[in-house]
Structure formats: C-alpha cells, structure tokens
C-alpha cells in the first residue's frame, strides 16, 4: 500500500544529512560542552557552529540565539521570562486566541499569578487585526505574543505591522515562529520582533531541539536555573547531537527555502482545489496568506478522528486540529475563535506537506479522500437532510 505522510506540522522526517551530522556526537564525540579537555571543546565548538547556522537562517547574530529543548519551552521562556522581567513596569500582557497551548497556558499561569491577560480576537481567517492590538494596549502592557503562523489553520499573521505598533509604545513583541522558521522566509530584523521561538523538527531537524531568539540587550528571567549553559539564560547540559542537527537542518533549509516553498505551494494548491470540489467541505484559515505547505479544512457531518483512522487505513497520514486538541477530543479553540460552530469544528482535517511528498501522493489523496468522506457521511446521523442547508454554509458563505 502507498504511504503518504501529510502531517509535517506535527513533525518532519529527519533529513539524512542531518542524521549524518548528528552521529559523531552520539558516538565518539560524546563530551560535555563544559569540560575543558578536547572532547568538551569539540562539543562546545559544534554548538557554536550550530548557533551560527541557525542565526543565519533568521538573520540574527549568533549570541542572540538560546537553544532550548523544544518550541514549547521557547514559548514558555519568552512569555514568562519577559512578563516577569518587566513586571515592575506593568502586569498586562496580550496574546492572540489562535496561539499554541504553550503560549495560552503560559499566559493562564501568569494570570493566576496576578497578571492581566488580553486574549486578542481574530477575524474569520484567523488574522489578528493590528488595529485591535493597538486599541487593546494599556499603560501597563509590557508584552505582546502573536504566532507568526498558525499550525492549525495556516494563516500568516501581520507581525511587521504589529511590531511597529509595539515599538511605538515600547512594548516587547514575541512571535511564535515554530511553524514558519525553515518553511518561509523569517528575518527577525525585517519582522521587527524582539523574540522568536523555533523548533528543529519543523524543518528537517530532530525532535527535542528548539531555540529562542532574544534581541540583544533585552533582559529576560530564565525559565530553568542551574548551570552556566547558554550564557546563564538556560541551564542544563546541552543536547549536543540535537543542537548540531538543528544547525545542519537550518543550513539546508536556508539553501532550499525557495524551491521547497514553490514545490509545496504547488502541491498545496492542488490539495485545496481538489478537496474543495467536495460538497460541504470548507477551507479554514486565509485562502492566500497562508503557509505554503498547509491545507486545512472542516468537513461537515463527520468527525475528524474517523477521517484520520480511515485515511490511515489507506496509508495516508494527516491531522485533525492541533495534536493536543485532537488527543483530548476537544473542540479546537483556534477553530472556535474564527467562528466555526462546535459541531462543525469536530470535522477538522489538516494536510501539511513536505518535499518528501510526490505529486502522485496528491493524486492518491484526491482519489481516496472523497470515497472516505462519502462512506462516513452515509453512516453519519447528522448528514440526514443535509441538502437543506448546514452550519457550514452559514459560517463560511453566509
């Protein structure tokens, strides 16, 4: 049976050259980067080389990159670290409603600790309106955290405009760049962000490697205390192989970014065009201003998990909402925030593409997916009388 992996926002396959780069640090070069002898020096040099490569991918200076164990850690570090560092100036922060749980839950933690959090609304495409950001700022606001792009609905946010607003009021801006770094051009200077989160497994690197860009001169309270690793900003013996892998993946991603984007966009547009031919299936997120490898939908009358299982039986691997929401069998807060009704939000399906997908994989998907939808609808008690109107029509076309 053909195997088609369309879940690249969950994890990308490890690039073979990344694995080659990592191997020596899993074997003979096993030293602790803090050790003074040559094994330690070799590990330390490898980390600095990786830092340089990742910095180059996002147009930053190497010392502004702090390695973490995940994108979620980078997000927690940014939100909690800046809120705490700036609390003598004010205790108000703002995050959007389409953020990943690592932002939302960090904000909720701060709320319980006496901070005031504004959860910024989005439009029907999931876009944060800069005017809303501006009007929500108070004299107490110290941090705005907005995702660069949603991994659930693919919409790319107007970070540059929001950065201008933040700068005018001397407010720190963090962007969650986990879904974008290595997938579209990300330039911290051009975007105007003060902090940017990244994760290696989103661009061909290993799981367990993340990073936070912290603008030069910006004070931040560490999330993890202990040793002197990462300039005292993130303690803990470094995961040298993973960091090396992240660096190599960043280098490859930088070199192949344009061709990867063009190829994925071609596949994505075929997926969107093909799937939208089915009745009562709706695209979520922005139709144009979206990640080039991301196609997300809601399918009326059937449930995401059922689609995933049946797709998987055909060797097709996709996602339904974020990994967290999907596991919890909970309606996606992101879909609810763009106005998708609860019942319809259950029918979420996300196909995220990569260079490892062949054009024939898309042919296979477009042949199999309608059959699965039809079969599930035949079984669905909700589909009865669906020709007479639906929640989806009201929501997406009404």
């Amino acid at each position: 049976m053909r195997k088609c992996y369309f879940d690249h926002v969950a994890v990308n396959p490890l690039h073979p050259e990344v694995l080659d780069a990592m191997m020596p640090y899993l074997k003979e070069d096993f030293g602790n980067p803090l050790s003074v002898y040559d094994l330690g020096m070799s590990a330390r040099n490898a980390i600095e080389e990786a830092r340089g490569k990742l910095a180059s991918l996002v147009n930053a200076k190497p010392p502004t990159i702090v390695f973490t164990a995940s994108g979620a850690e980078a997000n927690n570090f940014a939100v909690r670290g800046i809120a705490l560092a700036k609390q003598s100036r004010g205790k108000h922060i703002m995050v959007s409603k389409v953020e990943h749980h690592s932002i939302l839950n960090a904000a909720r933690f701060l709320e319980k600790s006496g901070f005031v959090v504004t959860y910024l609304p989005v439009d029907k495409y999931g876009t944060v309106e800069p005017g809303v950001v501006k009007s929500s700022i108070t004299d107490e606001t110290t941090l705005i955290s907005i995702t660069h792009a949603s991994s659930e609905i693919g919409t790319i946010e107007p970070i540059k405009e929001i950065a201008r607003i933040a700068k005018e009021r001397d407010i720190v801006l963090h962007a969650d760049g986990v879904a974008t770094t290595g997938n579209i051009p990300v330039d911290v200077k051009e975007l105007g962000v003060d902090l940017l989160s990244m994760a290696a497994h989103q661009f061909g690197g290993p799981k367990g490697a993340g990073a936070l860009y912290i603008r030069e001169g910006l004070r931040i309270v560490p999330l993890i205390y202990g040793g002197i690793q990462e300039g005292g900003r993130r303690a803990g013996t470094e995961n040298v192989p993973a960091i090396v892998g992240m660096g190599r993946a960043a280098e490859i991603a930088k070199n192949k970014l344009n061709s990867k984007m063009a190829y994925c966009k071609e596949l994505r547009d075929r997926v969107i065009g093909g799937i939208l031919k089915m009745p009562k299936v709706y695209l979520t997120g922005h139709p144009e201003n979206r990640l080039p490898h991301h196609a997300s939908f809601v399918v009326e009358f059937i449930e995401g998990e059922a689609m995933l299982l049946m797709l998987s039986m055909k060797g097709i691997y996709a996602a339904s909402g974020s990994a967290c929401s999907s596991k919890a069998l909970k309606s996606s807060p992101v879909l609810l925030s763009i106005g998708v009704p609860t019942a319809l939000a259950q029918g979420s399906i996300v196909f995220s593409l990569g260079e490892d997908n062949a054009r024939e994989d898309i042919d296979y998907l477009l042949a199999e997916f309608p059959l699965i939808i039809n079969r599930l609808r035949e079984m669905s008690p909700f589909a009865k009388g669906w020709g007479e109107g639906s929640e989806g029509e009201k929501c997406f076309t009404g």
Partner: protein, 82 residues
C-alpha cells in the same frame, strides 16, 4: 563597600536576572577584552555579587572602583590595571 556615582565606563555587561556564577564568568570574559586602564560596568541583581566582585578584583589584581545602585539592580565598576 565603596559607593560611587557617575562613573564613566568604557563598556557595560548587563547580566540582570542571571544567577551565580555568571557575574564572575562575565567579569572575567569582559575584562580580558579591555585595554589597560579601561573601566567595565557590570549590571546585576545578584546579591552575592556584593561580596564576590570586590574579592575577585583583589585576587586577580584588577581595581574595584566601587558600586552604585539602581531601583532593581547593582552597578559595579572595575578598572583593568595599567
């Protein structure tokens, strides 16, 4: 402790929120990069620095000029000897 005001530093190391022993590691790293006679300013909120930095200067032969206080942190001034 010697308190000083309006000391003109040649370079500043801001390590506010960084814990022990970053104040000493940064001090060592930054002093190495200075020319003889130049002054380093270290900003830190770590209380242990009150003892550690003057002692470090004594041990290494650098001149501890003194310290100043801001609302949330200390400012230490160290001169690299001629």
């Amino acid at each position: 402790m010697k308190f000083v005001h309006n000391v003109k530093a040649d370079i500043t190391a801001d390590i506010v929120y960084m814990m022990c022993p970053m104040h000493l590691l940064k001090l060592d790293e930054m002093i190495k990069g200075l020319d003889k006679g130049q002054v380093l300013e270290i900003l830190t909120d770590y209380d242990g620095a009150l003892e550690d930095i003057p002692q470090w200067c004594e041990k290494t032969g650098n001149q501890f000029i003194g310290m100043d206080e801001d609302d949330d942190y200390y400012k230490f001034y160290v001169r690299k000897p001629q």
